[in-house]
Symmetry: C2
Subunit: 192 residues, 2 copies
């Protein structure tokens, strides 16, 4: 089943009954997304949550100088959405674009909310996911203003060795908060 991957992910954090989880999984739609296609564009209302089965996405916004700023990446077994737009029902400030050919499962906010209304186990699942996200966000904020650009890059490499090859360097530079030129400089320094 195409939804098995999500099923396993849920079961690794919570314990819904077989019926409950199958009912839930029935509400997802499968999508194949080509590299550079958008799941969400700035200005749109985010109405879905996406679970990444395969591939890679980046969330970015256009800053006041017109430059793309990467806020997040998403890879296999991550949930993706613009939470701010989704929860507050406001136009999104973010773009979500595939960085590889990808496969996702999609569910509407209404359907998800309906399940969250009654299900202890799904509330547990998302609570635990969000706790982990919180830990990651906190650590990221801590890194962001404790470390120099060079240290940021080295730390990121250390924690995510395989990911560094996965996206163009200019995206990684943007995510880490500096320019591609500066990343080049760092990399040139390390070689000899």
């Amino acid at each position: 089943m195409i939804t098995d991957q999500l099923k396993n992910h849920i079961l690794s954090f919570a314990a819904p009954t077989e019926k409950e989880i199958n009912d839930f999984l029935n509400n997802f739609e499968f999508l194949a997304i080509k590299n550079k296609e958008f799941l969400l564009k700035e200005g749109q209302y985010c109405k879905h949550q996406y679970f990444i089965l395969k591939g890679c996405f980046r969330c970015f916004f256009i800053n006041h100088k017109g430059a793309e700023k990467v806020v997040n990446f998403g890879i296999e077994n991550w949930w993706l959405s613009d939470f701010e737009s989704l929860i507050n029902q406001t136009p999104s400030l973010l773009n979500i674009q595939a960085a590889e050919n990808s496969k996702v499962l999609k569910i509407s906010k209404e359907k998800l909310d309906a399940f969250l209304e009654d299900s202890l186990e799904l509330n547990r699942y998302f609570r635990i996911i969000l706790e982990k996200v919180r830990v990651a966000d906190q650590r990221r904020i801590q890194f962001m203003y404790n470390l120099s650009g060079e240290e940021l890059y080295n730390t990121f490499r250390e924690y995510n060795p395989s990911f560094v090859q996965r996206v163009p360097q200019y995206m990684l530079a943007s995510y880490l908060g500096f320019t591609p030129e500066f990343l080049s400089k760092i990399r040139a320094k390390k070689k000899p």
Copy 2:
């Protein structure tokens, strides 16, 4: 009741029964914390969650240059803990210190976990809280590397006008990611 404030907070996001919520509230301990006292020190294991009834706290760590870096503030009706230490059972990298004379409610991780085992409504409550935290963290990350120091300060002021007076400027500068000297410069520029 000293726990009424927390009760109201929970009831504004979830709908536990009267018995359920009262059972839960029975597990909290009230603490009065004097300005500059610590709730948690670097190296300790964080074993509690705190709900702030009144007052203000800062979470900070000591960076590799020996400087205090403020990661977060907490005020009335916020939950406080080092999530990373609490969840992963690792020694904390953070200090949590009162920035005012404060009042908190305290619950141990074990007791909280026991309630989360069975309660749909408490899982809902914390899931919703964490969604809001996520939105705030995302926005903060976005601000952090889209805005200049001056813009950061002005934006923070705009969103939190009353808070700016509440903590020393050196803490605010640290939270915003720059030095107190630079904050002085920004403020001097605005006056005339």
